[in-house]
């Protein structure tokens, strides 16, 4: 819920700076390892944007894949969970390198 409020704050800041009155669509980049529950985000987004500049706006989620650096294999490998194992060697010596994003990418405004 506070993440959805964070999204609304960014939108309201942009509305003041760029002078628009209504947002019709919002694109969020959400990484697979960010811990954000997309369904919950959609639900909370609708709740917090009611009666705001983004009331009724369409929420588009751009899902970004997770990736990590395997120390044993010395290579970047795909990861689906933060505690996942390396698909190459099965080890757990992985440092997450991508997929933790939670960003407001762009807005469609009127």
């Amino acid at each position: 819920m506070s993440l959805a409020e964070g999204v609304l704050q960014l939108i309201e800041d942009a509305a003041r700076q760029q002078e628009f009155a209504k947002v019709t669509a919002v694109w969020l980049e959400i990484g697979a390892l960010s811990g954000v529950e997309v369904e919950a985000m959609k639900f909370c987004f609708d709740a917090v944007t009611r009666d705001s500049v983004a009331d009724g706006a369409r929420l588009e989620i751009i899902a970004l894949p997770g990736s990590g650096w395997c120390m044993a294999c010395s290579m970047t490998v795909p990861m689906s969970e933060v505690f996942g194992e390396c698909p190459q060697c099965g080890g757990y010596q992985l440092q997450v390198t991508g997929g933790t994003e939670m960003r407001v990418k762009e807005l469609e405004v009127v």
Binding site: E19, F20, V104
Partner: protein
């Protein structure tokens, strides 16, 4: 995250007083804007972004009703991170070493903290910021040890954020070169995402919990530098496997350090205090 638990903001109280205070400015030319207060104290500086509206002198509307795209490219947690950076700067300027203690409810954070303060008496001054949804019981327990403490009640909120902590820092007189301990709301989920301006997050896992907690709540164990395994005096009565718990923690965070402690018997407390000394020295050199 809070998208899952549905906690709300508002109702935040710091030692019983309301923390909210947005206000509106009207400039000489008639433009208005509202903003939150910064934590600059008397200087009254406004370090955050706020939009000024200069319309209609140079509005360039592309035609009424036309849709356009606006690039934002900003992290959702940007606002919190900006407050956290401000807190970190203010703490570093005074040589204050700050730890953010996180765990599930009932892991023994407050007892561990009381014991730590007792052991540090005379060696290092400690100040505490306590976060709980309700009551000031924990701050009272800390004050009983002689250390100054302030209580933040988050109301419906499930975590502390950098804005609340900034205000609490204003109310406390933090001595230079001291140790600031922030005891977060008991919750292994949401506090992981919120930087408060601390040097390190320290996660406390008590051996009366499941040893697989690190992989059940991976974000928190990934965010922490150190895991304190508390209540180790109870190990003889439990089927908890310390090596398995460490293995799970290193699976999500290969670099995490682990110290086994018991606030009751004092086991491991020396190692914990030595870790604080070492990390505080590292932080001082980096500043």
């Amino acid at each position: 995250m809070c998208t899952t638990c549905g906690c709300g903001t508002g109702e935040v109280k710091i030692d019983g007083a309301d923390a909210h205070h947005e206000h509106e400015h009207v400039h000489a030319d008639g433009t208005r804007h509202s903003h939150d207060h910064g934590h600059g104290g008397a200087a009254h500086d406004h370090p955050h972004t706020h939009g000024h509206s200069y319309a209609p002198a140079h509005s360039h509307a592309p035609g009424i009703g036309a849709k356009r795209m606006v690039q934002i490219e900003q992290d959702i947690l940007a606002k919190n991170n900006a407050y956290a950076a401000q807190n970190r700067q203010r703490l570093a300027a005074r040589g204050i070493f700050t730890l953010n203690l996180v765990s599930s409810p009932g892991s023994g954070k407050t007892t561990l903290l009381c014991k730590t303060i007792e052991l540090l008496k005379g060696a290092r001054s400690v100040t505490v910021i306590e976060g709980d949804q309700q009551t000031s019981h924990d701050a009272e327990r800390i004050r009983a040890t002689g250390a100054p403490a302030i209580q933040i009640n988050t109301g419906k909120g499930c975590h502390l954020d950098a804005h609340m902590v900034g205000h609490a820092m204003e109310k406390l007189e933090l001595p230079a070169d001291s140790l600031l301990m922030i005891e977060n709301v008991g919750n292994l989920v949401c506090p992981a995402a919120f930087d408060l301006g601390e040097a390190h997050k320290v996660v406390i896992l008590s051996v009366t919990e499941g040893e697989d907690k690190p992989i059940k709540y991976p974000d928190m164990f990934r965010a922490a530098t150190l895991m304190l395994m508390n209540k180790c005096d109870l190990l003889p009565y439990l089927s908890f496997s310390v090596p398995r718990a460490i293995e799970f923690a290193r699976r999500v965070n290969p670099g995490i350090e682990v110290i086994e402690v018991s606030a009751t018997t004092g086991q491991g407390m020396e190692d914990w205090l030595a870790w604080i000394d070492r990390q505080a020295a590292v932080a001082r050199r980096a500043a």
